[in-house]
Symmetry: C2
């Protein structure tokens, strides 16, 4: 039987992979990359690990299979899949393995599984960088990668303590297959929740899995890759909460809710400005996706422990319905009944506050900054909401805001501001998206520590 | 020469005159009594001092006279005045004197003069009770009074440390006289600012004055009354700030600004419900007063150090334009540049905050409570505004609110709430009018202490 502690170092690696390197990786995480106006080309690509493409499958490895659970609606798996994709290889015991990863074995009781739901192009990759960045001391190492240099296309992001998996890898059919079924990737029936549940259960039991890979570039299902359990495992994609069995495995879940107006603006920014699309085409494209999105993705908001809702600014609203959105209003909706989780609040728990920090003590540039905090019933659940509109221009403002926030998950005063500063140049680094994502990252660290009793 | 320390006790007095007694007095302070739906009939009237109606005028006493200062516009003083009013008597050296008042002599350097501007019927009497109530240990004793029992009608309210004078006493002509001039009492020309300035200057120098009395019941100018300097002297009425010389004597000034909608509602409440007027008559009556009010009274807002603005609630707005106003929104507009005065603020000085204390930690009844704080440019001056909408139902809420307020002028935490409780059953005791008036009272005490170095 294969020993997982005997993985081989292969290829040169950066001694200190940075945010910049992570950013390079994110350029390949297509399920989460658009809409941010922020991509790096792969100047560091040659540093990624190459792997032996075909390797014998050890008996303990959980391989994808076409199990069907009672009561689960799953669509037809079309012929093309078997023929075209590497899942076929997986079924025959083939798997890609990152020989460079030397992760210490993880006690299954000391792990958490976090779900992040969002549409594609909603800034998940940026969010994931913020999340993994919180778990300090890590050298974030992409698992696999090395596209075009003998490695494989991967959607998975690995650092010392965290592994982020993209749920697009559980698409039931590849792009060609979906043309046969006539269903979108948003459709429940086009996703293999049986396998997703089985593999997530395995990871939580401390078992290594052979996860399928959906190749976003060519729409194929590639040779599976080996994923070992990590302290903080994150699954991000369209449906981490749709299947109740998978949702039941999660220790915490977040839904990134980009409002239609913001999605529209981001799509205009990308598809009109960068790809020369007409406005009508963009509208049609959005409308086409909307029914399945509303049916299969949006309802997960009701199940999420936390929703980050991105809306047009009220402080500096857009001029008209197609104007670019220079400023955003972001709501952090926090379910109050979640285990190991105390909502972040502003000034006074349980009351309603609106606060513009700009004034006598703090000079802000246009459009300034407004925070709010209040309770509300969110999709049938009691929730506490922290809201931010406008921008934070500098460190001083960050500290000033931090002073009035409680339960941030920061280990000392100023840590939130330090983390904001780290992500200053990332998309949304000065607005509510960066702010709330950073808070979410701190809270996830807190949940990890409370749930496992470990220090992160 | 008469000795003022030899004033005679006359008639029985209550050993501990209470708010209730003050309230009885207020029923005679017509210049400030309507619109509150709150009047006491004079069950205690027989306890008020009676006086010798005619007494020789000592040489040192400053008597009203018809001085005209250069550059001051003053209207004609019609014949009727000389014939009908007691100012005539004053001119001949007659004055009413409260033989019961044993006020210790006051060091002129240890006094403050406060101006309170407002239209008639704007709750000034309630405000005055709150103000005088703050100066603890006092036995609020009305100066004079005893209407119908041998005393005189007075608008003046006296307690241990405070004397409140009504500026209607400086009307130039009586009601009959105004019929001759054709001017309203709101008109600058119908008020004797020369005398007002002269007498206020005298009080500030430590001199006793013989102040005229305007009788609101029959519209006559009665025999003047003797007023001795007090630690805290308050002049309240239509024009404490209109004449720059008088305004220049004030240590602090407040304008009670009742918005038109609120005035209308209060007038409907009184004149329709209690006097059977038609709605049209009420509207006409308001319109008739409006031009002179806007010309002579309203502009004083720009000069006031503090404006208490009373508006319809936004939390629970009235159903239509004639509906009664069950709930109010009250703004405490505080000029930031006033000597001895630091504005009250909510949570964080100089920023903008809106706060609904009701929520998890505090259950409020409908319509709840909302506080706000922000800076604004008010009539050309930088100001900090504290705002309250809705009601405070109980002590707990008061304390909860007090916890987040700073610079209240309270000497210890809880004092604001105690004062609110004292006025609980007074008009506006549970809403922003009572709240802001109580804060204003605490701030006036603070100004007195800072300006004089004395403990109040």
């Amino acid at each position: 039987m294969m020993r997982y502690d005997q993985l081989i170092h292969e290829g040169p690696r950066q001694s200190s992979p940075s945010l910049l390197q992570l950013a390079s990786v994110s350029a390949t995480v297509f399920c989460a990359v658009f809409g941010i106006g922020y991509t790096f080309s792969g100047g560091l690509v040659e540093n990624y690990a190459t792997t032996r493409p075909v390797q014998t499958q050890p008996a303990a490895l959980i391989l994808p299979k076409a199990v069907r659970y009672a009561g689960v609606s799953q669509g037809p798996q079309v012929e093309s899949r078997e023929a075209r994709t590497a899942l076929h290889a997986a079924a025959t015991g083939t798997v890609n393995r990152d020989s460079t990863l030397q992760r210490p074995k993880v006690d299954p009781k000391k792990t958490v599984l976090i779900g992040v739901a969002a549409d594609s192009g909603c800034g998940k990759s940026t969010f994931m960088r913020r999340l993994t960045g919180i778990f300090g001391g890590g050298k974030p190492t992409p698992l696999g990668g090395g596209f075009g240099t003998g490695g494989w296309e991967t959607n998975t992001l690995v650092s010392d303590k965290t592994t982020v998996m993209c749920l697009d890898d559980y698409h039931l059919n590849d792009r060609a297959g979906r043309k046969v079924t006539g269903l979108t990737a948003l459709d429940q029936r086009e996703n293999n929740f049986d396998l997703m549940f089985e593999q997530m259960s395995s990871l939580k039991r401390g078992e290594t899995i052979a996860k399928p890979i959906y190749n976003h570039v060519n729409g194929t299902l590639d040779t599976p890759e080996e994923i070992a359990p990590a302290s903080i495992m994150i699954i991000e994609g369209l449906h981490p909460l749709l299947d109740d069995r998978v949702a039941g495995l999660l220790d915490f879940s977040i839904y990134l809710d980009i409002s239609d107006r913001v999605k529209f603006a981001w799509k205009i920014q990308r598809d009109m400005a960068e790809r020369g699309w007409a406005l009508e085409d963009i509208k049609k494209d959005i409308e086409k996706r909307k029914p399945d999105f509303d049916k299969y993705v949006a309802p997960q908001r009701a199940k999420a422990d936390m929703v980050i809702e991105v809306l047009p600014s009220r402080l500096a609203p857009p001029k008209d319905e197609t104007a670019p959105l220079e400023y955003l209003r972001v709501r952090l909706i926090q379910k109050t009944t979640t285990k190991h989780f105390d909502p972040v609040y502003l000034i006074e728990k349980g009351s309603s506050v609106t606060w513009k920090p700009c004034g006598d003590n703090l000079q802000c540039e246009y459009p300034g900054l407004q925070l709010a905090y209040y309770t509300e019933e969110y999709m049938g659940h009691p929730a506490e909401v922290l809201e931010m509109d406008g921008v934070i221009h500098n460190l001083k403002e960050g500290l000033y805001v931090e002073k009035f926030l409680h339960n941030t998950g920061a280990k000392e005063f100023g840590e939130l501001t330090q983390e904001l500063l780290k992500g200053q140049n990332s998309p949304g680094g000065d607005n509510g998206t960066g702010f709330m994502q950073t808070l979410a990252a701190l809270k996830i660290r807190e949940i990890y520590e409370r749930a496992t009793g470990e220090k992160a």
